[in-house]
């Protein structure tokens, strides 16, 4: 079953995307808008200038890291729905570093990365520990951790990092202390593009390497595919569950860093970042494969960054992008449907080929 699904993961993903876009088109038609016009402006909004392309990439960076986080946990059979909270805490750690730690750039960047990773990992390791030690379902535990992060930030920011004018956001970090970089910004002609792009790409490569080429990755995947079998083979299941959630949390923490100290330069309170949930879509569409995550993050980044322009040019509300993403998740979840469909197509093609060769053979034998 799993090998069969894997073999047509790409077809499943493409089918889900097409169906999601069709559903989005129908919704645009339902409110009396022209779907072709809507999609035109949606994609144009994400791609029409270098700056817009930079913004699309900047959005995709965060989604990529959250997607990696969710995918990493998936590989160990865990569902990390707590990326939002891990992003908040990782983002808070990065913001604190940006406000109070002043170092040469070469040392500063690793420090802020480490801080964000560690804070996110802390938020992820708690549910991992509860799962391993007390069998607490990680879905409920990570959701509770989301709300604990939400309220902690809600009170921490006004108390310690209050902005000059608004009570609802932290004061902005200095631009030199953010992940923005002059040459990148100049290259893209402005926008939100930042050094997170390298963090995300390196993370994709490292996660791919860890999962495919190391003992740790092998153990994590073994626990994910059959934890009893893994236990029987002498793999320490609980330890792997904890490590998996820790790394997943760390990756989400990095996502928080790229968002709060790269894309934006402050933290708003009273908001659970929606990218934490969009990352689930990224991981699912990418079939939990780091390379798949890379491309699906770019695609969702495009939808998210183009929606504002589309809303300005047409009557379609920006939530269409989120609706399309949610529809894509639903269709990925029901991918059995497409797997069956593509299997049937494959089988029919094979049958046809078989019939053709049989016929040819029969004709040949007739000639003889």
């Amino acid at each position: 079953m799993s090998t069969k699904v894997k073999s047509n993961a790409f077809l499943v993903a493409i089918s889900a995307v097409i169906l999601g876009l069709i559903a989005g088109g129908l919704l645009m038609m339902a409110i009396g808008s022209n779907p072709f016009e809507g999609f035109y402006y949606l994609f144009r909004g994400g791609l029409m200038s270098m700056e817009r392309v930079g913004n699309t990439i900047a959005t995709a960076i965060t989604l990529m890291l959250v997607g990696l986080s969710v995918a990493f946990a998936f590989k160990t059979g865990l569902f990390n729905i707590g990326a939002s909270g891990q992003m908040l805490i990782g983002g808070l750690a990065a913001t604190l570093v940006a406000h109070y730690v002043f170092l040469p750039r070469v040392i500063y960047i690793p420090v802020i990365i480490l801080a964000a990773f560690a804070a996110g990992a802390l938020w992820g390791v708690i549910p991992g520990f509860l799962k391993a030690k007390f069998n607490v379902h990680e879905v409920v535990a990570t959701i509770m951790m989301n709300w604990i992060a939400y309220w902690s930030i809600y009170y921490f920011i006004p108390a310690y990092l209050k902005g000059p004018s608004l009570e609802t956001e932290s004061r902005s970090i200095a631009i030199e202390q953010s992940l923005r970089s002059d040459w990148l910004t100049d290259f893209f002609g402005g926008g939100y593009i930042n050094l997170g792009i390298f963090v995300a790409v390196v993370a994709v490569i490292v996660v791919k390497y860890v999962l495919d080429k190391t003992t740790l990755g092998f153990e994590l995947k073994a626990v994910g595919s059959n934890r009893f079998c893994a236990e029987y083979a002498g793999i320490k299941v609980n330890r792997n569950v904890i490590i998996s959630m820790m790394i997943a949390g760390g990756l989400a923490g990095l996502a928080g860093m790229t968002f709060y100290t790269g894309y934006s330069r402050n933290i708003q309170i009273g908001v659970l970042p929606s990218m934490g949930f969009d990352g689930i879509a990224v991981a699912l569409l990418g079939a939990s494969n780091p390379i798949g995550v890379f491309f699906s993050a770019l695609f969702f980044g495009l939808l998210q960054s183009g929606k504002g322009f589309m809303n300005a040019m047409t009557d379609v509300p920006p939530e269409i992008a989120d609706t399309i993403i949610a529809t894509i998740i639903y269709f990925t979840a029901t991918s059995v449907l497409f797997s069956r469909f593509w299997d049937k197509v494959g089988k029919r093609k094979k049958e046809r080929n078989d019939a053709r060769t049989a016929k040819a053979e029969a004709q040949e034998s007739d000639h003889e």
Partner: protein, 341 residues
């Protein structure tokens, strides 16, 4: 010795009424305290949407389907009732609210069919399907609100008016706590709670439904259609979560704003905390309702002024985690929950 044993069995048989009476007596004893008088009415108001939604989750999980989409289903009901009431309240105020609740129930049940189809027929991962339901609901409701009502927020003119219950409110102690200034939706919700308990535990239909969540193949061999039962379970969870969302609107919120702020997830936690049993759920949701109320009113109560408000806000979630630590080892979850059949 035997007397002691008798007492034990007696307690075990009548555990439910004993606990209920003990809690009510406690509250009656302190009903003169201004703190209790301040907190209890709000606590009830916050409890009811959680209770109704968690009951919905009970139907679904007892039939063997995990429903992580309760948050989204609540949101669907929240939205459906807001739109219905907004467009009918000018015609008839007294009809608009019951109609809004009814439409919310229907909308929730219909939306839950997406989850039912995915998890029952297609044997999809129920957790992912539930997550998709949540995301779809939160995007779609705001999308529709913007196009139908012109804004992401939909405000209604008037919710349910609080009323005294004629005779019962005169009872000293408890009467003033529970029967004065109450919403009629609260009594509807408690009636649903009672009926659900009866349906699930005192009828053969309920036995079959619960058996579908424990050992579906055995039920199937006894001639019961497991798929149909599970469709019923998920449909009930959608209907009740929809009602829960609508009750938020017509009692304490008055405005659809695109989120139910985690109440759906808290309902799932209450379901686990309450060990998948009606009384447990009532207790767990009342606990969460009280905790939320204390968090909300803590700033205005001098007794709580010394404690930072963040402690109160994270309290329900931390306690849920701790409760899960205690309860998860010997989990009373239906054995076949989450497994496709």
């Amino acid at each position: 010795m035997s007397n002691d044993k008798d007492m034990k069995t007696l307690f075990r048989t009548y555990r439910t009424p004993i606990i209920v009476i003990a809690v009510l007596l406690m509250l009656a004893l302190f009903s003169e305290s201004h703190l209790i008088r301040l907190i209890i009415p709000y606590a009830i108001a916050y409890t009811i949407p959680l209770l109704v939604t968690a009951l919905g989750g009970l139907y679904s999980e007892r039939s063997g389907v995990t429903n992580l989409g309760l948050e989204g289903l609540m949101l669907v009901g929240y939205f459906a009732s807001a739109i219905t009431i907004k467009f009918t309240e000018q015609i008839s105020y007294s009809l608009a609210i019951p109609l809004g609740l009814f439409i919310a129930v229907i909308a929730g049940a219909l939306f839950s069919m997406l989850h039912a189809f995915a998890s029952i027929n297609l044997k999809a991962d129920q957790i992912i399907s539930g997550t998709a339901i949540n995301m779809l609901a939160s995007a779609l409701t705001v999308y529709l609100a913007r196009t139908v009502a012109g804004s992401g927020n939909v405000r209604i003119m008037l919710g349910i008016v609080r009323q005294d219950i004629p005779v019962l409110s005169k009872i000293p102690g408890l009467g003033t706590l529970f029967f004065t200034q109450s919403y009629w939706s609260t009594w509807v919700a408690l009636a649903i709670w009672g009926l659900s308990w009866f349906l699930l535990y005192k009828t053969s239909f309920g036995l079959r439904l619960r058996a579908c969540g424990e050992h579906p193949s055995a039920v199937e061999s006894a001639g019961v259609n497991v798929h149909k039962m599970r469709y019923f379970g998920v449909g009930m969870s959608g209907a009740l979560a929809g009602l829960g969302g609508a009750i938020i609107l017509v009692t304490y919120s008055g405005e659809f704003n695109g989120t139910v702020a985690g109440l759906g997830f808290l309902s799932i936690a209450a379901l686990i905390f309450g060990q998948w049993k009606p009384l447990g759920i009532l207790g767990a949701t009342f606990f969460f309702g009280t905790a939320t109320t204390i968090a909300n009113v803590s700033q205005v109560i001098p007794e709580f002024g010394v404690i930072p408000p963040v402690i109160f806000k994270v309290f329900p979630y931390v306690v849920t985690l701790l409760a899960l630590v205690v309860f998860s080892k010997r989990s009373a979850a239906p054995k076949a929950v989450g497994e496709p059949y």
